[in-house]
């Protein structure tokens, strides 16, 4: 298939070359340069950012990475660590994976495969798209009103609802529209011939979805959902509204389930607060925390890519 597509794309080039003769295509060349420049500017900015962060945090990473990863929040930069931020971010990730993914993918499957193509579904579709564009602070307010205030008896009555459950649920809701849209997009890319073939041999709708549509759309769905996970892990604004702790936090219950109802903090919150701390050493610690968050997000992405490759091979 690869070889076939290559000959397909190269043959028009040969035709174009013959038609144009040996004339130099100035406009085309200029456009190509422009695109190349766009790519280099983007990559350059990214490289600059990475270099800046890594070099800024190198003092911490090279000398006390272990302490830094296992230490607690605090007022002395030399002793401060991010273990609690990592824990909060981990739990938030779990909530997003466990709540937003099944709900979002489920809604997308219903909308694409089951719902009749009526005005109502189009209306719903448009609204979901709008929801995906709502600023994250607004979701923070929503989370504050619903999870922190109204559902306090579930999310953590003894911590005023400012817990990792509230945070996880808020961010799950935040990425839900994105999960639905990307999944729906992936489902829409499945050729209808595949479905028709399934129906043609007498499969039910459920059988067609399960054994034809989903496997085909799987990698696309996975890519979209993991991007939304990365988005959730990087959000700070909604967490501030939900009541993430910024100053100090005791070790508490560690990774046990009891800690879900405790006050929490998360990596983006730590980065945000430390960046504003005047005490010496916190600028370095901030850079190091950014590097750690980047690594965490990259790890999540890597897992997704590996999973996607596995599914693609199976297909």
């Amino acid at each position: 298939m690869n070889a076939a597509s290559r000959t397909l794309t190269s043959s028009p080039e040969i035709v174009r070359a013959r038609l144009q003769g040996r004339r130099f295509d100035a406009a085309g060349f200029f456009f190509r340069l422009l695109l190349l420049a766009a790519m280099f500017v983007t990559l350059g900015l990214l490289a600059l950012l990475l270099f800046d962060v890594v070099s800024g945090g190198w003092g911490v990473i090279s000398t006390r990475l272990g302490d830094f990863l296992t230490g607690k929040l605090g007022i002395t930069a030399a002793r401060a660590g991010i273990s609690q931020g990592l824990r909060g971010t981990f739990f938030i990730g779990v909530f997003v994976v466990a709540i937003a993914f099944p709900l979002g993918v489920g809604a997308a499957i219903y909308l694409e495969e089951y719902a009749p193509h009526s005005r109502l579904t189009r209306f719903i579709d448009v609204n979901i798209r709008n929801l995906a564009g709502v600023p994250s602070v607004v979701y923070g307010l929503l989370g504050f009103a619903i999870f922190v205030k109204a559902l306090r008896f579930v999310t953590g009555p003894e911590s005023n609802g400012a817990t990792v459950i509230s945070a996880g649920l808020t961010l799950a809701v935040l990425v839900l529209p994105i999960v639905i849209i990307t999944s729906a997009e992936a489902l829409r890319a499945v050729p209808d011939s595949l479905r028709e073939a399934g129906f043609g041999v007498g499969a039910t709708r459920w059988e067609v979805v399960r054994s034809h549509v989903l496997p085909y759309a799987g990698p696309g769905i996975l890519t979209g959902t993991v991007l939304s996970l990365a988005r959730a892990l990087g959000e700070a604004a909604p967490l501030i509204l939900v009541g993430a702790t910024t100053g100090y936090l005791s070790e508490g219950a560690g990774y046990s389930l009891a800690s879900l109802q405790e006050r929490f903090t998360a990596m983006p919150i730590i980065i945000y607060t430390w960046a504003g701390r005047p005490q010496p050493g916190f600028q370095e610690a901030t850079a190091a925390a950014i590097v750690v968050l980047l690594v965490v997000v990259l790890l999540a992405n890597t897992v997704a890519i590996l999973l996607r490759n596995r599914y693609e091979k199976r297909r």
Binding site: A98, N160, T246, G247, A253, A258, R263
Partner: protein, 366 residues
Amino acid sequence: MRIANSGSRRRTTAGRLVTALFAAALAAACGNGDGGRGLGGRIVISGSSTVEPISIGVAEQFDDLHPDTRISVDGPGTGDGFELFCNGETDISGASRAITGQEIGDCRESGVEYLELKVANDGIAVLTSPDNDQIGDCLTFTDIYALAGPESQDFDNWAEANDLAAELGGTRGAPFARAPLTIIGPGEESGTYDSFVELVLEDLAESRGEPAQTRPDYQASADDNVIIQGVEGSDTSFGWVGYAFYDSNRGRLKGFEIAGEDGRCVEPSAEAIAEGSYPISRPLYIYVNKAKMAANPALEAYVEFYVSDPGLATAAEVGYVALNEEEAAATAEAFQQSRPDGSPSPSLSGSPTAAGSPAPQPVGGA
């Protein structure tokens, strides 16, 4: 067939995830079986960002003694802190000023009785180089406003501030001699910057319809040592740092005397700050919810540690002026007085002798 296989496998993983989550949610909802060992309990601290570093420092030490307590500290600001506190959402609220009448009313309305404890003093020294013989020793708030306030942008000579100072009136240092003016101070993110603006510039700026801030064109540094070097670096420099830092570098700097409303020039000193006669200083408080303290031994132990000698010494470590002996004794006394009559101290150190003192003394609240 392969396709069907992979589909069903994925379903089981997803199923497992969902089950795990439900189990997690249930377990979390059902109980925090954390009674028993040691001082377990939650302590929620919020309030002034100026007091936050002290509370964090105390929490760090307390945590080492009682690893089972769950302390969280935030610093959204004194006003925001009182809003939460009077709502009963926090146990302790830090404050860089005394509670206002409005806030007292809020607390009373929701039945929150509190204990006010002074825990430190915040003072700022206004500096120049010890070699500065061109400018007088004493400044008023107006002088400082004319030199470093929001209307002084682009002044790079002391004399340029003279017109503004004359217009404002009430000066002591002005008219200034012609001498280059280099200004150096903490950056906007620093608590010292906020304190400086609130204590010195805010009233004047507001009365003139200017934003409450310093002039934007000064050398800002987050590092106090850099500020000190900068102040030393020019004979006619102007700068400010937290008093504690000035005190430990006295030989290298000259701290201006400051004249307050009574017109008396007061040198920055620990005594003057403690008695409140040095104008650029203010007391820092914590407010403790009494009912919560009675119900929560961990909270009581934390406050007891806060007002103990090592607790109060934390203030100096994070750049404030620690209470002197007299003030510290008064704070400790206020805490002991607030204890319910005859209740034994639940803390480690055995019951302090004052536990029997009668008549709990409500500071406000009731």
